[in-house]
């Protein structure tokens, strides 16, 4: 028997950008399915519309920058950005909202900084934050989980009309409503316990958000299994959020939401597995990733509990994006066989 002698490198296939991006897209499917099931056709329409826009703008920008268009388009990064943005904005958001968002994500947050790999901020989150600041009414009008609340679902045709042709306000009101986070934040003088019983979306509709979070969680675990990213960021982010909310809930259950609620509504799961793990904008070393994730969890809890916006994933991720280079400076791992690395800014540089 002859053994084949192979010298290093033993890695057979490079983990190409396009493969990673395709895996990420694949992993969003359970979440997309849950969103579509509970909130109607809006999610799928937004996904398609955002992807179309993103690919178009990406192609135009690459052309403008005089680079090979097809080569860069094939890395799917524009589609991933578009999908993440489309998952974050309300399903029945008007078409121009998505247009503005994709423009900001692809043109301003990505290509003006030098394209994929050069952007200091997560493009989808920059776009989301800008939209939230600019169009608070449209952005906080999330779809109501009509399946659970039984006020009738919208067909595909009606959804298209609502998104592209604009609207009949009565129809908008019947299919949209506050998210659980929003409802809990603006519960007036009610205690958390009372809010759980008296607010419809909390009492009956919150299951939809649990299901969506479960979908994104499954996708995230799949990505972990395929080693698209390491466990550090999602685990430290979710753990920090869970520990903090347990502490506060333990001391003042009337004022604060319980940890399960924090982990399973809003953008927590999507953020933990799909947004915070963006390799371009996150911290690099494993220790750095732990700090980075913990920072996001901390900021999410702070902004959700005491800030003026109901959800906080976008702002938390952006703030930690800003801190990532700093974290990298102070968390350089020791090279094997060398003394401990001198951390922080080198004096001679």
């Amino acid at each position: 028997m002859a053994l084949i002698r192979v010298t290093s490198p033993h890695v057979h296939k490079a983990n190409r950008t396009a493969d990673v991006m395709r895996l990420v897209l694949l992993a969003t499917l359970p979440g997309i399915a849950a969103l579509s099931f509970f909130f109607g056709w809006g999610t799928l329409v937004q996904l398609l519309w955002a992807s179309l826009l993103a690919v178009g703008m990406e192609a135009a920008l690459i052309k403008l920058r005089r680079r090979p268009v097809l080569f860069y388009l094939r890395d799917y990064s524009a589609v991933v950005t578009a999908v993440l943005l489309a998952l974050a904005i309300p399903p029945f958001a008007p078409w121009w909202l998505t247009l503005v968002g994709v423009f900001v994500a692809i043109v301003i947050a990505k290509h003006l900084y030098g394209g994929l790999g050069q952007n200091p901020f997560n493009p989808a989150m920059v776009a989301y934050a800008l939209l939230l600041v600019s169009f608070p009414v449209e952005m906080t009008r999330w779809a109501a989980p009509t399946v659970l609340l039984e006020n009738g679902t919208l067909g595909l045709g009606d959804t298209l009309a609502l998104i592209f042709a604009g609207l009949d306000p009565a129809l908008v009101d019947s299919v949209t409503g506050a998210t659980p986070l929003d409802a809990l934040k603006h519960r007036g003088g009610l205690t958390t316990e009372e809010a759980w019983h008296s607010i419809d979306v909390l009492a009956n509709g919150v299951g939809a958000w649990h299901a969506v979070s479960a979908g994104f969680f499954m996708g995230g675990v799949f990505l972990l299994y395929r080693k698209v990213f390491t466990w550090h960021i999602p685990v430290s982010m979710l753990a920090t959020l869970a520990v903090l909310s347990t502490l506060f809930f333990g001391f003042a259950p009337d004022q604060y939401a319980d940890p399960f609620f924090h982990l399973t509504v809003g953008g927590t799961m999507l953020g933990a597995f799909f947004i915070a793990t963006d390799p371009v904008t996150a911290a690099t070393s494993n220790r750095g990733k732990l700090y980075y994730g913990a920072g996001i969890g901390l900021l999410i809890f702070i902004i959700r509990s005491w800030g003026s916006y109901p959800d906080a994933v976008a702002f938390a991720v952006l703030l930690m994006n800003l801190a990532a280079p700093f974290i990298d400076l102070y968390s350089q791992p020791r090279t094997y066989g060398h003394a401990h690395a001198k951390r922080g800014l080198k004096e001679d540089s």
Binding site: V100, I108, L112, L130, V133, S134, F135, P136
Partner: protein, 233 residues
């Protein structure tokens, strides 16, 4: 010392533009450029102060001991700002209310202090006057362009409320670009000013690069103007 008036003009308007190159006076620049009328108001006020302070500093430059020159400059600038403030209260009271604290804050505008210290106290009166005028014009131009960008994007109008500055006849100058515009809040808020400013600087750098390429194709030419970059103020 021979004075190159063309160079002074070109420096103020383009090469060493206080807003785009020196990045001075950013605080009012970013804060009040929500509309064209605010931009013109603040630009004009800053220009008047700049011209007055440059003129005075230059006229007294032989008598000012260099060890205490900065306090003296500040006093000169503050007197002019007070004049402008009183004038605005008298003639454009509504605009004065809108611009609010940013009128007194012209005293701390680094662009004005910078010109007094870097130019006026070393140059004759005529050159200093022109320098103040051109730096002010360059500053105002950037303010107005940024104001127009933000007003058009943010509220869908141009030249709204010009009657605050130019009297009742100017009320009809308002251009409604998009009827029934729901507003793009981001452009009105300070982050929009930062992004708009960044885009303007980028455009200027692109134009400079293109000019440089064209010049290189023809003949080598020495660098003009100082490239001081400060980000305070």
């Amino acid at each position: 010392m021979a004075t190159d008036y063309r160079k002074i003009t070109f420096d103020g308007l383009w090469n060493n533009n206080p807003a785009l190159v020196q990045l001075l006076g950013l605080c009012p620049l970013l804060a009040v450029t929500g509309s064209v009328v605010n931009a013109i108001g603040l630009g004009a006020a800053s220009t008047l102060v700049l011209v007055g302070s440059n003129l005075t500093v230059s006229a007294f430059r032989k008598f000012v001991p260099s060890s205490v020159r900065l306090p003296i400059f500040v006093m000169i600038i503050a007197s002019f700002v007070t004049c402008i403030e009183l004038l605005m209260q008298a003639f454009t009271y509504d605009l004065y209310l809108i611009l609010g604290i940013f009128i007194p804050l012209i005293v701390t505008n680094c662009a004005i202090m910078g010109r007094a210290d870097a130019f006026a106290c070393k140059n004759p009166v005529g050159a200093s006057l022109l320098d103040g005028l051109m730096m002010g014009a360059g500053f105002t131009a950037v303010l107005v362009i940024l104001g127009a960008m933000r007003e058009a994007l943010g509220s869908g109008t141009l030249f709204a409320d010009m009657q605050l500055l130019f009297g009742p006849a100017a009320e009809s100058w308002k251009l409604v670009l998009v009827g029934d515009y729901s507003g793009f809040l981001f452009a009105i808020l300070p982050p929009g000013a930062f992004v708009g400013m960044g885009l303007l600087i980028a455009v200027k750098n692109i134009i400079d690069d293109r000019l440089e390429e064209r010049r290189k194709a023809q003949q080598p030419k020495p660098e003009a103007g100082s490239k001081r970059v400060r980000v305070t103020g």
